[in-house]
């Protein structure tokens, strides 16, 4: 791995749930966290990985010569900023003023050089840039150039955070303070995981921590969804399943996520 390349799990065009407008989302591989509920488990490890979907196997016995059934696929390939940018440009006609690119993952900040290069190229083409980050890492030069940051605040209590994500959130909390000083609009998001952080107390604590920030533009609660389960299985990882929060639960919690409450 060199600094001028990043391992990309996938590039999704026409993404409409990863920021404003129509966007291209680049899923970088590698993450310092290890969230139990991760819906992109293939993006945890930095190196390319094989994913195996046995139900697609046709039993030809020629795995070594290459699999074409979709049963064995390699997730992740090294790409330069130039190669990624080529794909970002594909949808330029659809971005208009608010759409653009979202760097996601995994944790995009583990590839600061590639992303800085991409931001430079995007700015030259007037393409809006955003990142989805855990804020476990911080790069003020990178984050300061973005048009939007979407940062996760998963659990308020540091030890509990460590239990479910593998690291404490002490640095993350500090990074929120640093982020607010960059004059970049940011959105805070909490994935709601039943049995982990789906309590009024949890949401209230997070809200109270973030509501005074001057550059915050919103606080969103995202319901857990089990889309990562099949991928966990395909990666040979332990299947960790949570309940999907009810609509009523989400509505109740959203009342407490109101920054003006």
């Amino acid at each position: 791995m060199t600094f001028d390349k990043a391992v990309v799990a996938d590039i999704e065009r026409a993404a409409i749930h990863d920021g404003p407008g129509i966007r291209t989302t680049v899923f970088f591989k590698g993450c310092p966290l290890n969230c139990a509920w991760c819906h992109n488990p293939e993006c945890k490890q930095k190196e390319p990985q094989e994913m195996f979907y046995p139900e697609k196997c046709i039993g030809c016995g020629m795995c070594k010569e290459g699999c074409f059934s979709g049963a064995r696929i390699i997730c992740g390939r090294e790409m330069t900023a130039e190669e990624i940018f080529e794909q970002i440009l594909e949808d330029k006609a659809y971005y208009f003023s608010d759409g653009g690119v979202t760097f996601s993952g995994g944790e995009p900040l583990i590839y600061p050089e590639v992303i800085k290069e991409l931001i430079k190229k995007c700015k030259a083409e007037n393409i809006n840039t955003a990142a989805e980050t855990s804020l476990a890492l911080f790069d003020d030069e990178l984050l300061g150039q973005l048009d939007l940051v979407m940062a996760d605040f998963k659990i308020f209590d540091s030890e509990k955070h460590k239990k479910y994500t593998g690291i404490t959130n002490d640095a993350i909390k500090k990074n929120f303070l640093k982020l607010d000083k960059l004059d970049v609009p940011f959105l805070v998001r909490t994935p709601i995981i039943p049995g982990v952080n789906d309590s009024i107390e949890e949401i209230t604590e997070i809200r109270d921590y973030i509501k005074g920030f001057k550059n915050i533009i919103g606080y969103e609660l995202l319901p857990y969804h089990p889309l990562g389960i099949a991928k966990q299985k395909a990666l040979g990882l332990e299947e960790i399943r949570f309940k999907v929060p009810t609509k009523e639960k989400m509505e109740e919690l959203r009342k407490y996520a109101d920054l003006y409450r």
Binding site: D10, E12, R13, A14, I16, H17, P20, G21, I22, I58, G59, C60, M62, G66, F68, S69, G70, E86, Q87, E90, D91, A93, Y94, Y95, F96, D98, G99
Partner: protein, 739 residues
């Protein structure tokens, strides 16, 4: 007191019941809803055959049978509506065409009679007088939809009819009969048809009077009295008010549908604007009533109407009535074929409102066409900007200049997957095998296919007037009544559309061969041929199929198959435009398969993109399923924008997806940007289905539970519950492609 909303609710419920009853009478119909209502009991027409092959042709045959079918139509007066009249049956049901024949008609025929009907057009065309046996082998070889007796694919200039009225038609017929005494047969037939329409109106007048005698509810009585007044006013005279204009259009549309299923409408928001403005000025109309009238017109028939757009001086045509049309369509929210014409200076609020209704109702309306690409493209045929701007969206994939043009659009198609099959067969015996060689042979076969297609078109144009003269549409075309000629003989513009079908199958086939055989050398040509021959049988065959099918596809985004799709488009356009045509006729290329993907696929063997023998071909200019892992609608949009043929005909972007967007500012913005983005990239037309995934899947299991679900099958919309299981599955499969 019943409000307009109450009345619409009842009419909508009645429409849903009618849809299910029509399915009982007709069987599954993989067609437009057409706005028909169920047939009454004991409905019967005795057709008059003037040909020994058991069909009818020409001025006599068409006018006589039009009268018989029209006269058999009972009046349709619903006191909750403001307009009256519905059609239920059409002439083609008596011309031996199994493709369109409803179950109730089949039940009237004996086994012996049915044995004589066909699944194609043979009895609609008078082969005894105008045979084309010499063309048939090549037409079959390349699976050409010939256009021979493809009727009604043109557009009337409704301003002619609205300025004359039915009485005015009769006066005009009489005037020019005296000028052209040698055309007596033509004028007699036209007169006979107009009189049948007037009789149809008269029966409605009698029915309204009958209902008035028994109706006691004051508000309903008032409506019936106004209905009577409207009908009496337009029986012969030209319409003067907005209500009269809508009623006049409704009657003309019923008649034109009965005759040849003509579904071409007009620029709804500008043509009716003077009536609207005049009535508003005179205080006899308000917006709520205007909306109810438009909703009523849309309920009567889902004709193709265009709204918004731009005039020849680049002035935006959007007006208050344009908004009312959308609001009316929303009010009734049934199968509708409204097209919004989008241009650079368009009213952005109007565009947003259009997108809003698409997202809100998820009933596949409106759709969108691009003024810039269509106008500039059509001008490349040597047409002025003024005329090109008047070429409006009036069909599934097609545009037409009302009153002037005879385009035969959407009736002529070449299945290029079949052309590829022929090229593969020929290359098999060649020493040299390569994609370049295959493309060379493909081009040679394509040239032959286009030549034979042109011969069929010319045969049709030379004789349509003797087979299926457009007696109803002639009333509102230029120079027809004046010269005593059918529009097929005297159109000012003969820009004939020829569509290619199967683009993605062919592009992906070339792409897969280049990737797997030439670049990676994973397969030999012999292995490819062997597997095509045995339809990828066995596990090894399946591996080969998957290898080919997993090659980068068309619409993948700068893939090898995208490159081939562009190259195929270039040769398609070049060959179509190079085809010599007599007189002032010229061919215009497009990509479109209509809803014939199953039928076209059934005659094509296995193809090198991993498609098995007999499977459907790709839909229009759309990519094959699984063209990208993310099913990106923007990738599809850009891919299709890159294969536009550029002469004013379309290669529609046909989208089926559930964007899971909320009905809010962001949702509407996303849809709007997708539309504008496609047109910025060079697209021409967007036929779009925004669907609720769960509802679609549940409706596919039990369609009767969702009788109000409307989908855009291809260019037209239809009730999902009326489609055959095969077509429902086709829509579902296309939907899954974008998931």
């Amino acid at each position: 007191m019943l409000t307009y909303i109450d009345r619409i609710k009842i009419l909508r419920e009645k429409k849903i019941k009618d849809t299910l009853l029509k399915r009982e009478q007709n069987g599954y119909t993989d067609l437009d809803d057409f706005g028909t209502v169920p047939l009454p009991k004991n409905y019967k027409v005795e057709p008059w055959f003037n040909s020994e092959n058991g069909s009818f042709y020409g001025y006599d045959g068409m006018s006589e049978n039009f009268c018989r079918v029209m006269d058999a139509h009972p009046p349709y007066v619903d006191p909750l509506e403001m307009l009256c009249g519905r059609w239920r049956d059409m002439l083609v049901n008596y011309r031996g065409d199994l493709h369109y024949m409803p179950d109730w008609r089949k039940a009237q025929l004996s086994d012996e009679d049915l044995a004589g009907v066909t699944n194609q057009w043979s009895k609609r065309w008078d082969e005894i007088r105008f045979p084309y046996d010499e063309l048939k082998p090549l037409q079959k070889k390349y699976n050409i939809q010939t256009g021979i007796d493809g009727d009604a694919h043109l557009a009337c200039d409704y301003s002619i009819g609205l300025s004359l009225g039915f009485g005015g038609f009769l006066e005009k017929i009489n005037k020019y009969r005296a000028v052209n005494p040698d055309k007596k047969g033509f004028y007699d037939a036209e007169e006979k048809c107009v009189n049948a329409i007037i009789r149809f109106i008269d029966r409605h007048i009698e029915e309204i009077k009958r209902q008035l005698e028994i109706e006691e509810r004051e508000e309903i009585r008032q409506n019936l009295e106004e209905m009577l007044e409207t009908n009496l006013a337009i029986r012969l005279d030209k319409p003067k008010t907005f209500r009269q204009a809508c009623q006049w259009v409704a009657y003309f549309n019923c008649a034109s549908r009965v005759y040849t299923r003509d579904g071409a409408g007009f620029q709804l928001d500008t043509l009716l604007l003077p009536y609207y403005e005049n009535d508003i000025k005179n205080g006899v109309l308000d917006d709520e009533t205007a909306k109810f009238l438009i909703a009523n017109l849309l309920l009567i028939d889902p004709h193709y109407y265009q709204v918004s757009g731009v005039d020849e001086n680049d002035k935006d045509l959007t007006n208050h009535l344009s908004y009312l049309v959308l609001e009316a369509a929303d009010m009734i929210n049934i199968s509708a074929n409204l097209t919004v014409r989008v241009h650079e200076n368009c009213d952005k609020e109007f565009l947003k409102k259009s997108a809003y209704y698409l997202l809100k109702n998820k009933n596949a309306w409106p759709r969108f066409c691009c003024d810039k690409t269509l106008t500039e493209g059509y001008m490349k045929n040597g047409i002025s900007k003024e005329i090109a701007r008047k070429r409006i969206a009036v069909g599934c994939n097609w545009m037409c200049v009302p009153g002037k043009e005879f385009p035969m659009n959407d009736t002529v198609k070449i299945n290029i997957a079949k052309v590829l099959e022929q090229a593969l067969i020929e290359m098999k015996s060649e020493d040299e095998k390569s994609t370049e060689k295959l493309f060379e042979i493909f081009t040679k076969h394509l040239t032959v296919a286009i030549e034979v297609t042109a011969k069929g078109i010319n045969l049709h144009l030379d004789h349509q007037w003797e087979v299926t003269p457009e007696l109803i549409m002639n009333l509102m075309m230029e120079d027809t009544l004046e010269k005593g000629l059918d529009i097929s003989q005297c159109a000012k513009l003969y820009t004939i559309g020829v569509d290619g079908a199967g683009l993605a199958v062919v592009a992906d086939s070339f792409g897969a061969l280049e990737t797997r055989v030439e670049q990676e050398k994973r397969l030999s040509w012999d292995e490819v041929y062997e597997n095509l021959q045995n339809n990828f049988e066995g596990v090894k065959g399946e591996r080969v199929r998957l290898m080919l099918n997993s090659s980068p596809k068309y619409c993948g985004g700068n893939t090898v198959s995208d490159k081939w799709a562009k190259r195929l488009t270039e040769v398609w356009v070049r060959k179509i435009k190079a085809q010599p045509m007599p007189d002032d006729r010229q061919l215009i290329p497009g990509w479109f398969s209509w809803s014939r993907t199953i039928e076209y696929g059934s005659v094509v063997g296995a193809t090198p993109n991993g498609r098995k023998d007999g499977e459907p071909i790709s839909h229009g200019a759309n990519p094959n399923p699984h063209f990208r892992v993310d099913g990106s609608v923007t990738a599809q949009s850009s891919g299709i924008a890159s294969v536009q043929c550029g002469y004013g005909n379309t290669a529609p972007l046909q989208l089926e997806f559930d964007p899971q967007l909320a009905l809010d500012e962001k949702g509407v913005e996303i849809i709007t940007k997708l539309i504008l983005g496609h047109f910025k990239e060079g697209g021409t037309l967007i036929n779009i289905n925004i669907l609720d995934s769960d509802k679609l899947m549940a409706a596919n299991k039990n369609p009767d539970l969702y009788p109000d679900l409307v989908v855009r099958v291809t260019g037209f919309t239809a009730y999902f519950a009326s489609l055959s299981p095969e077509f429902r599955q086709l829509v579902v499969n296309r939907f899954l492609t974008n998931m």
